[in-house]
Symmetry: C2
Subunit: 219 residues, 2 copies
Amino acid sequence: MTNSSAARPPRADAVRNRQLLLSAAAEAFAEQGTEVSIAEIAQRAGVGKGTVFRHFPTKEDLIAAIMGEIIDSLITTGMGLSDAADPAAALLEFMTRGIELLARDRALCEIVGRPSLQQPAVRAGIDRLCEVVEMLTDRARRQGLIRQDITGQDIVLLLAGVHQTAAPLADTQPQLWRRYLALTFDGIRTQHPQPLPHPAPHRFKFTPDSMLADNSKAR
Amino acid sequence: MTNSSAARPPRADAVRNRQLLLSAAAEAFAEQGTEVSIAEIAQRAGVGKGTVFRHFPTKEDLIAAIMGEIIDSLITTGMGLSDAADPAAALLEFMTRGIELLARDRALCEIVGRPSLQQPAVRAGIDRLCEVVEMLTDRARRQGLIRQDITGQDIVLLLAGVHQTAAPLADTQPQLWRRYLALTFDGIRTQHPQPLPHPAPHRFKFTPDSMLADNSKAR
DNA sequence: GGTCAACCTGACCGGCCGGTCCGGTTGGTG
DNA sequence: CACCAACCGGACCGGCCGGTCAGGTTGACC
């Protein structure tokens, strides 16, 4: 009696398709953001469009399912860091892991920023994530390792902010965010400045052939 | 060679409509970003849709015209700060003005981030802006007021990054970016930390009705 | 006032996308 | 094996949007 009453197990092909769908959607969202069409996700999974809507009645439901999983993984990371010996190092490690996730997933960047997604499951996940961050921050602050006026909410916002700072050059310098994470964390911690780990960015400097061929001969 | 004196002047209603169009589009883009439909812009300007495409053959051309103007205004600001007595204060002032522009204009945020807009005029404007920032940064760095390993390109990226850090809460705390600008500038400058000017952010804490109720406390 | 080109308008086109639906298929069960 | 409900597929719908065009209107100049 795995199911108390009137619950029938789903068919084998249904669970298989659901899994195919989830992984295909996760990949597509990560690469192209939440604007990927349902048709493309269905094609990647090798199923029909109707099958997508059978498993997830709305596109938002599909997004919420995948984003919720990613947020949960970050919560787990934070919980594992909650009793580290050096709370400041733990906080930095947590931020590093969070930004790595953001750098790999365009859809994740979109949902953390905008309050557009009011899916309750995702909201609840973000709330739990905020509590974990608050806890990590409190430990570091109580030991005097970071500024007293920094809160967990600051950290959550800076997580996305640091990533977006480096995002415009992510194609050519995918590790650039480490530079700004170090700079930001230097502003947060009470110690004296540390050297920045990544060289300064370049580009934006009129490299005529870097983008296309030669139709930029204006002026 | 087109004889400049022989070129016929445009008709009076044409120039008037062009002006109406520019201001309507600037307003619409600032409020809603570059995704506003051409139809809405035409309606705001009180003209037909076809008139928009008569003056700007493509939507991108219209965007470029308006964004170019805004970028130029920021360049002018930077040039005016180029011989200030305190180069660090000048740099901070410039960043403040830049983020104020970003906070007021959603479309501006979109184009500085993504390299999607390859309109040559806008590219050239951004390049000139980068040169101005480089100059401001060099002055501050040569006087030892900021870290030696900070470049003008860092400043350009941080401009957008600081704004986007506070953007998710911009509806309820429109001045929050000042907190992160101060924090970031503390990391950049060589002096000791200064107090943060804005209280720490709240929200994300399961306040079910906070989104619609108390948005009145903005200066 | 008369003429004409510049100008304006809004109906229209093609394409995309989220979501629906129904005929056909298939997996499980007795 | 036979049956049927769960399941699948993809044609289809309505709506939106950037861009085009034919036909009516109007400003400028003689």
